[in-house]
């Protein structure tokens, strides 16, 4: 695909091939092309790219920030953020379409907004820890043709990178009280056949190996069908089912809500889910969670409500397939 970008005032420019834009064109979403293309080059807006297209420098920056975040033991660190999702108690994540919020409204429509807020706060903490405002969460496009083997991308599957332990391969589990960890440890041992041992422990994966695992990762038609859902609630339910299947396929700690977020792969998986929500939003302008949900807060993130999560550009990020840097033409 040819991309022509004019740099501001004739200076050098960074051209971003927004996936939303590319996909938008494919889907005939002309009204959104300019919005997404412009937001992709707004200073300060971070680009979330596909894991598959990260450059060596992107990966090095991501890994350095993750290592720095894992080295922080207070509420700016990896343990704190991983723990928000599940253990230690209280766990805040919203999963499954259970009744019970605000006079028995189903909680299901909160799945996508809550996790968007979670990724937003995690990503800012990652940038802070790495002292690098360009670091952004990449997305793992797990869609796989059934004829191909399902697998985890090498960036997350390699035990080492540049001669060092790869922080994307596994994450530490440290800050859970023993009384809670022992219960989770028993469950993990029973369900996965692997005893992670006492704390400190590390996450582990069993791609496609659990008895309950789906036969493979989600297929493009499954995702396409979800994206064609006309209502937010229907889309949310479909995408949560796909999300659940990926967790169970990965296995190990990713297959248990209390400890899933300790695995760095969790964030690449959920960034993919968030991206699909954004693509759905672009295809369904004006559609979103039912109005009665918009003012619902998303604890423990007091500054965000459901309504506050709807515009990702307002949260300072954009989804891109790749980034193509241009250099200025020689001045004659």
């Amino acid at each position: 695909m040819r991309l022509e970008v004019e740099g501001p005032a004739g200076k050098s420019a960074v051209a971003a091939l927004s996936l939303a834009t590319v996909r938008g064109r494919e889907a005939g979403l002309a009204n959104h092309q300019m919005d997404t293309a412009q937001s992709a080059v707004v200073p300060g807006v971070r680009l979330r790219k596909s894991v598959a297209t990260l450059t060596g420098a992107d990966l090095a920056g991501l890994r350095a920030a993750l290592v720095a975040m894992q080295g922080i033991s207070d509420d700016r660190g990896y343990q704190h953020y991983a723990g928000i999702h599940g253990l230690p108690l209280p766990g805040y994540c919203v999963h499954h379409d259970a009744a019970g919020i605000l006079g028995n409204l189903p909680a299901g429509p909160l799945f996508l907004p809550w996790h968007r807020a979670y990724l937003y706060f995690f990503e800012l903490a990652l940038q802070d820890a790495g002292q690098d405002a360009t670091v952004a969460l990449p997305w793992w496009d797990w869609t796989t043709d059934p004829a191909q083997p399902s697998e985890i991308l090498a960036a997350y599957a390699m035990e080492t990178a540049s001669g060092q332990p790869n922080p994307l391969y596994q994450g530490p589990i440290v800050a859970i009280p023993d009384s809670q960890w022992e219960g989770e440890r028993r469950t993990l041992t029973d369900d996965t056949g692997i005893d992670p041992g006492p704390l400190p422990a590390v996450t582990f994966r069993q791609p496609g190996a659990l008895p309950a695992a789906p036969p493979g990762l989600p297929t493009p038609p499954e995702v396409k069908k979800a994206l064609s859902s006309p209502s937010f609630v229907d889309f949310s339910q479909r995408i949560e089912r796909i999300h659940d299947a990926v967790h169970v396929w990965v296995g190990g700690t990713m297959s248990e809500i209390p400890v899933a977020a300790y695995d760095p792969l969790f964030y690449a998986h959920h960034t993919m889910i968030d991206r699909l929500w954004w693509l759905w939003q672009l295809q369904h302008p004006g559609a979103g969670p039912p109005a009665r949900y918009l003012n619902v807060p998303l604890p423990p993130f007091p500054s965000l409500t459901v309504g506050g999560t709807l515009d990702i550009n307002g949260l300072g990020y954009e989804y891109a397939l790749a980034e193509v840097p241009f250099v200025p033409a020689a001045q004659g």
């Binding site: 309950a212 169970v248 297959s255 400890v259």
Partner: protein
Amino acid sequence: MRPYISKPAGLAPVDIGTGYHRADLVFDGVDHSAGSFALRVFFNNPDATDKTEVTGENGYAGAVYVFGHGGCFGDEGHCDPPVGRRAFDHRPPHQLIPAKMWIEVTDAIRELAQRQEQLVITVVPVVPGEVTQDSPVPFQKVSLVTYA
């Protein structure tokens, strides 16, 4: 967890209506408090087990993958969802309230309905270890719902 086998249900137009564009198999009250598991659904194959190959020939209709909470980590009562909800209670919902889940089965139902066949649903839990007959079914109700 033990398997669930339904009584035969009618699929004639009088039973499920006409003109529907979508049919879902809806599970109410799915227990997601323990480890992750799958529910495999087979149509008109009451002998299906977790060893049955998931093919159309065997009546396989799809699966629900339940991302589980992995057990209880609090003191006694911590993991018991409250019964009912008080007025003016704006706290977030208890995380272990049983869930509603579904799989879309439109094409399979259309095919069976055209033949006006009856439908027996077999739901096979796939869990670590053996499926036991003396434990509860991990959901409260399963229904076929059609939408116009």
